[in-house]
Amino acid sequence: MTAPDPTPGVPPLDLPPMPPAAEAPAVPFEQDWRRLDARMLAVKPISEAGKLLLPLVVVLFVGGTDWWKLWGALAGGGLLVVAGVVRWATTRYRISDTHVELHSGLIFRKQRSVPRDRLRTVDATSDLVHRLFGLSVVKVGTGRNDKVGEEDELSLDAVSAAEAEHLRQVLLRRATGAATTTGTATGATAEAGAPRPETPAESEPGEVLASFRTSWLRYAPLTLSGLAAIGALTGGAFQVANELNLDPTDLGPLRNVGHWLEDGSLPLVLAAVVLVLLIVMTAGAVVLYLVQYWQFTLSREADGTLRVRRGLLTTRSVSLEEERLRGVWIAEPLLLRAGGGARCGAVATGLDTGAGSDTLLPPAPRAEAHEVAATVLAVGTAPTTAPLRRHPRSARRRRLVRAVVPVLVLAAGLGAAALAGELPHWLWWVSVALLPLAVLLGVDRYRNLGHALTERYLVVRSGSLVRETVALQRTGIVGWRVRQSPFQRMAGLATVSAVTAAGEGAYAVTDVDLGDGVALADEAVPGLLRPFLETS
């Protein structure tokens, strides 16, 4: 890739001298060292500056125009550009037969090298600025996270969209044969496994397993993202007002609203406020849903990977080697559950669980979530719909105690403070009024506890505010963990967790009867627990 003409916004600078062309390679390689796309020289400063734009404008035009401020801003911008140039000039990557290598840094030289047969996922993300310039940030992940919080991941920021697609195909291509699944319930095309041309052309369409439907938008208000939207909006508004030294009461319309709020009758005002909040929340949630999941497509590619593409402004493409799939989860937050919706995600090794990269289906009808689960796992019926075994009644007592006691403690504390005259009385009335809700929460948590063992999957379910059902491949279980507190021991219960290399690392069967739990673990992974069991 040659450097194109200087992009607008980037002053012509002399590049620092190139570092010597790399150390002697230890392995034969087919490709030469490549640079990141030169367009990133423009992208980085723009996106960095974008983040600083608001404070910058405020500083420049509101607090009086001092010259040093202007110079400071210019110097900051210049630094961004220089940093970008240095980064571009010192960063290079190479894909050899066996390794992906990344060298970067001017003062602190960093050399990363990841064996290609370890690569499990390729994640290409482009935010708005990147898209404007036709670039993607490519992250390749391996299945290892030996040290907690230290993901073994290479990030290329940024390469051209075509190069990203090329990388995706080349890096995950090696998976053949073993990963191709048999035709599935959706009437799979039989072309999977057919040889693909080696030329990394435009992306093969693959078999689409699920794609965005406008009707899914009705689930958007049932997510809590609306609240987040309100929070972000108000936070942002206050910040702007603060920076601009605005007093909200100075604004005409706001003042009118304020007067109306002061004069109106209380029920009317409350109703109006609630209505406005609801409208804003719904609108915010719908917008967020669109931003995140627009053009959502889940597909099974011919090279044995699952691929999720989505996003309105920032587009994201996550490719996951099917061999690395250890199961699926179905999450049903309370509101979504009440509305008959659910989300679906992958339990896979080498997949970052935090940033939503494991999403397989956004909030959608529950039936579709289970269907996607079944399709992705290439089974007829989703293990997540298997009838679950309930946990003993002593587990219900524990769930109730754990839900109710904190509220009781809170009420007692507030009550004592009220008696001492420190706090108004209505606070503890409210907390007492929360008690029935806590009871309901505890009962629901108990009702949702369950586990099952199917032919190939261990299925566990728990949670009330977010009910999660996880189906974990029995062959993906790499150990067991049994925890028992004295209270659990008195109740004859234990929490039995299946340890796995994928997803969150361990999936718990909470408050199961100890004997049942041990028997379950013994049955799920034959032989592993057997030497450590005794029959009384």
């Binding site: 370890r118 299945g143 290892r144 996270n145 030996d146 907690v148 690395r324 090794t349 080498g350 790499v478 150990g479 067991w480 963990r481 049994v482 925890r483 028992q484 507190s485 004295p486 021991r489 004859g492 234990a494 967790s497 340890v499 796995t500 290399a501 994928a502 969150e504 690392g505 361990a506 100890l514 004997g515 041990v518 028997a519 013994d522 032989g527 592993l528 627990l529 030497p531 450590f532 069991l533 005794e534 029959t535 009384s536």
Partner: protein
């Protein structure tokens, strides 16, 4: 000693791992508890010395700290010692740790990634070592604290030999 489950209905149940940790571990844990108590106590005493108004309160809390600390120093290390057990077979590593909350863990040798030992200053003084067995899971490693150094050494050597013979990335 309280054992898990009194099912008695013929169903299998977990038995305790075969080996105890070193008896010197009691001394180690006692020293650790002592250090914790001292860390809590010293600020209170210093404050009581300089702050007249708070002295009655602080003396009270200090006495409580000493009493509870003494109980903790006597009880917790022995409780831990009774709970901590370990076992390594040709197939798997099996540990039981904790005291108030007990934690049984099983990891098959084929899924083990690394085996290390750590020795803090107190452990070095007492000739103890902690063996840490990591798997590919984010759920955390198996730990066997308070082993005699030579036992730990032998365990690490054996486990390393076995796991190196196993191929694959243990996921």
């Amino acid at each position: 000693m309280k054992q898990n489950g009194e099912t008695g209905d013929g169903r299998p149940r977990l038995r305790a791992p075969r080996h105890r940790v070193s008896r010197k571990a009691i001394t180690w844990w006692t020293l650790e508890e002592l250090m914790g108590v001292v860390m809590l106590l010293v600020p209170q005493l210093v404050a009581a010395f300089f702050w007249d108004a708070g002295r009655p309160w602080l003396v009270g809390t200090s006495i409580a700290t000493v009493v509870l600390g003494a109980v903790a120093c006597l009880v917790i290390p022995r409780w831990r010692y009774r709970v901590h057990r370990w076992e390594a077979t040709g197939e798997a590593v099996y540990t039981r740790t904790g005291w108030f909350v007990q934690d049984w863990r099983v990891a098959p040798l084929s899924r083990i990634q690394t085996v290390d030992t750590q020795r803090g200053p107190v452990q070095q003084m007492l000739g103890l070592a902690t063996v840490t067995v990591t798997t590919a899971s984010a759920a955390g490693p198996l730990e066997i604290p308070g082993l005699d150094v030579d036992v730990a050494q032998r365990l690490v050597e054996e486990l390393t030999a076995v796991t190196q013979a196993t191929r694959g990335d243990a996921t």
